[in-house]
């Protein structure tokens, strides 16, 4: 079946690309897997350089795109699910490009819950795991259960794969304890430390003994420099670390990296500490794969962002900066980045509750919208649960004009028309981002996104 199914899936992909359908990143793979359930394994065998898998709650798409940029600049051909379609069908669609003898390396971001299943079939040579935060509990279940499944996966791959792990996230760091073939990355700049634990922080307790960790520095959520006062378990020393992070609002940040290959200073054109983490993760992995240090630096400096993650698009004479928000930890980082901007801000927020967003919108009460109190001029709330977003802002003490308009297109036009500053900050959830992207493509303001 595979021999027939694969060319058929390729035809479907070519057709959907011609029609400009956004489903072109999943439908061909879905068809292929239905006709030939073992297709992932067979296609992955055509990748001469093997595959690496990237997973995390936050930053998968951006980190993978940075890594792809490093590899491509080093002249390494990559097969990559770059639009972020990250379940088995999205990986299968990307794998249609696998070509034996072409020296390709597979680079796949994989949804947290799908990771064990996809890894089972693809047999990666390297696994990059960055963070686990609470996210879509209705879909993923509890964080601890997900961490258990990842631990089983790492155990199974031990000996056949290498691991690049975040030392600053205790859940991730634990995966590598006592193993060979692990590279840790992290941040070591206490100027970026938060004054205290954010409300949404998870995993504040040692998985070894159950005691609460003490933190010398908290950088983001439950990520930081931690130690268990009871059993002594502590953050492993990272081989690749950002020893200096200087944030410069929406324009980007400066990073100094310490690596086994030497020091590297990078001007990263993406804002926020969360993107600094993505860059350190990508750098650690690229170096592990033999990309020269200087090439990593060039790739990161020339990086232009991934789909809907900090894009700026001109609409109606204003610059609209699109920042995906989808869970408390990610939203907190976006909000923290916005507080670095000058003046009172014009916001457009689109809260959807479709399956890919998580049907449960409770999470907005875990995100610290309070940090924007006194910093917002006008907030237009859209999406399927627009009114609940507006209520959240009201109770966060946002003393701004709050507008509710569930229709995405109308609300965006209103927000653009009534904004006063040069910039409008757009914060959509995942499916709202897809709608926004389609809308901008229809207006010829953004290219359609396909693999």
């Amino acid at each position: 079946m595979y021999r027939l199914a694969r060319p058929l899936a390729r035809l479907v992909r070519a057709a959907s690309r011609r029609l400009g359908r956004t489903g072109g990143t999943t439908a061909p793979g879905r068809l292929l897997l239905r006709l030939s359930p073992g297709a992932l394994d067979r296609m992955a065998h055509d990748l001469d350089e093997g595959s690496l898998l990237v997973s995390a709650t936050n930053g998968k798409t951006t980190t993978s795109a940075m890594l792809a940029a490093c590899l491509e600049r080093a002249g390494r051909p990559v097969v990559h699910n770059r639009a972020g379609s990250n379940m088995a069908r999205g990986v299968a669609t990307a794998l249609l490009d696998a070509d034996r003898g072409a020296g390709q390396l597979g680079l796949f971001e994989v949804d947290e819950a799908w990771l064990p299943g996809v890894a089972e079939q693809i047999n990666p040579r390297l696994l990059l795991l960055s963070n686990l935060f609470r996210d879509q509990l209705d879909r993923y279940g509890e964080l601890e259960l997900l961490a258990d499944r990842w631990a089983e996966l790492v155990e199974r791959l031990d000996g056949s794969a290498r691991f690049v792990l975040n030392a600053d996230d205790p859940l991730i760091a634990d995966l590598g304890r006592g193993r060979d073939g692990v590279t840790y990355f992290g941040v070591e700049d206490d100027s970026q430390a938060l004054p205290g634990m954010q409300h949404a922080a998870d995993s504040k307790h040692c998985r070894n003994c159950g005691h609460a960790y003490t933190y010398e520095a908290i950088y983001l959520g439950h990520m930081g420099r931690y130690r268990c006062p009871n059993c002594g378990r502590e953050r492993p020393a990272p081989q690749v670390a950002a020893t200096r992070v200087a944030l410069d609002g929406m324009t980007g940040s400066e990073l100094d990296l310490r690596t086994p290959q030497g020091k590297l200073s990078v001007r990263l054109p993406l804002p926020g500490l969360y993107n600094a983490y993505n860059a350190v993760a990508a750098a650690a992995t690229a170096l592990e794969l033999g990309v020269p240090l200087a090439t990593v630096g060039e790739a990161l400096e020339g990086f232009s962002g991934a789909f809907g993650r900090v894009e700026t698009i001109p609409i109606g004479g204003r610059r609209v900066s699109i920042l995906l928000v989808k869970n408390p930890a990610g939203a907190n980082e976006v909000l923290r980045t916005l507080t670095l901007e000058a003046g009172r801000l014009d916001l457009w927020l689109a809260l959807n509750d479709r399956i890919a967003d998580g049907r449960d919108v409770s999470w907005i009460w875990d995100a610290d919208f309070e940090v924007l109190a006194g910093r917002v001029r006008r907030a237009t709330c859209s999406g399927t649960r627009a009114e609940e977003m507006a209520l959240r802002l009201k109770y966060a003490g946002i003393d701004a004009e709050l507008v509710v308009e569930r229709d995405l297109e109308r609300s965006l036009d209103q927000a653009v028309a009534t904004a006063t500053g040069e910039r409008l900050y757009a914060l959509p959830t995942y499916t709202a981002l897809l709608e926004l992207r389609d809308l901008l493509a229809r207006r010829g303001l953004a290219k359609r996104w396909s693999e």
Binding site: R134, L137, D138, E142, L143, E144, L145, H199, A200, K204, G210, P328, D353, R359, D360, V361, S362, W363, I364, W365, D366, T384, R385, A386, E387, E388, A390, L391, R392, K394, Y395, L402, V404
Partner: protein
Amino acid sequence: MPTLRVCSLYPELMNIYADRGNIAVLRARCEWRGLGFEHAAASLGAPLDPDAHDLFYMGGGQDRDQIAVAHDMAATKREALHAAAGRGAVVLAVCGGYQLLGHSYELGGDELPGVGLVDLRTVREPGPRLIGNCAIEADLGTGSRVIAGFENHGGRTHLGPEERPLGRVLAGHGNNGSDGFEGVHRDNVIGTYLHGPLLPKNIWLADHLIELALGVELEPLADQQFEDGAHASARRAAGVQARLN
């Protein structure tokens, strides 16, 4: 003016679905009315003074945290909670907190102790977790009203013969997915599977709880456009459009 004294039980562990939204709403609605507001916490090992608070709140947690909390609550807080409920303090327990209000809670083959404040047991039964938007019709003595929210629970809760549910399920699963009822309501003790930020979606319930806890009657607040909108939004998500109040 009176002060609403709220105590969160195990807030650093039992907060998985953004339970703090409930506290934020209680705080704001007291402050906007010129009422005082105090918020305390009682966690593992801490004693609980039944007379020091008007409203006790407990949210949901991860299984692992819930095990520690169940044992601690039975050992250190059972008597105080009975005393507080006995003198009419409000107890609002949501999700995992609700399960621990009863006699026992079955988790991973073990039976965890509850505080026995209400007559119910939570057991495991074959079938998937009960997940989704949910709306119920409840009468807390002020006429029939809708409470809308989101439920996500593996346990099935069964009430004893004398115990009253909080409401009748209009949409969703409720206590056990089979008997058509949701939550528990005895005097000023309320337990529900509608988890996390339940009060932001049902502002009428927030105001009602403040009234019960303080024994006062509140004037409605002006400009409730977003509060009404959020309630309508949560109901719409559950497929229960406004037809009751």
